[in-house]
Symmetry: none
Subunit: 93 residues, 4 copies
DNA sequence: CACTGGAAAATGCCGC
DNA sequence: GCGGCATTTTCCAGTG
């Protein structure tokens, strides 16, 4: 109350900053989503069935996830056995 | 069949290329989604309610979308009236 | 297995009952969807552009949704403040 | 321009009327959709897997559609052969 | 840890 | 028949 610059206004500024960062990132994300759509469209233009393509991508993603899980499981086993696993340079953040 | 390099293998290569492009883009998208999550987490760490933040972002997005739709409606009116609308440099792909 | 009427058959009956209820409702829904289509067709018959009509309806729906979300946001604020109905001097936007 | 009540205002009224009719119907539709959701929720509360239920409903709908198509095809054949098909009290509006 | 709500993907539909 | 659009379904993070 006594402050010239109230803590409320600081909070306000912080909120704005966070929201702007988020919105910026969401824009980027939307942009990339657009790119993906374009690639599918281009593929379709070259005579490929987008449905099939999507299926393939989906399956490969599944595979990838499964591999990640298996590696995680392996690491779990190793650590449980007191054996430190060599740090893998994970291709997924 | 007569070709040394069958058209099938060409199609194969094309499919691979498309899929790789898509997967690359999807990775980028996922990465950005991760960034967004981080921002929310950081905001939460600074004492902000994530739920409120998400709602605000959502409302602002709705605002934006509605404006877009209203412009689209205007264009519809104009085209319906046979008046070519001045090409707007759309901020949305 | 001890029961004359197995619990399985009871479950069966329950499933049937649920599915029938759902299917009945879906029929109603489809019927109304048909009515909507008819209205659009009638409007078109009276010289109105369906696309424009749909856009208008869509925008009005968005309006409504946004108001709902804003009210929800207000409630979020209030609950965050312990339900104190503080007057909002919204100097925002 | 010469009319006291311009044709434009008549068109306006017509549009309003159409839009109100549509919105009314959409409300009904949404209401029924809500009912359906409730039924699924109730089923879930009784220990049923909603995903499975949805699948069942979907499959049955497919079956139904196929039967309709086959009947339509049959009628087509009959009319093509100059044989009037007995009017079926169609269960589909 | 199951549930709810919201985002994303997939499907189907309608008009051109 | 195809592209765009609405709906539907699936997925996932957050929450109690």
């Amino acid at each position: 109350m006594a402050d010239t610059i109230s803590s409320d206004s600081v909070a306000q500024d912080q909120i704005r900053a966070f929201i702007e960062r988020i919105e910026r990132l969401e824009e980027e994300k939307a942009s990339i989503a657009g790119d993906i759509k374009e690639v599918y469209a281009e593929a379709k233009g070259n005579g490929f069935d987008t449905k099939v393509l999507r299926k393939i991508v989906s399956i490969r993603k599944q595979d990838h996830n499964e591999r990640m899980e298996q590696e995680a499981l392996l690491e779990l086993y190793l650590t449980a056995l007191g054996m430190a696993a060599a740090p893998t340079d994970s291709d997924d953040e």
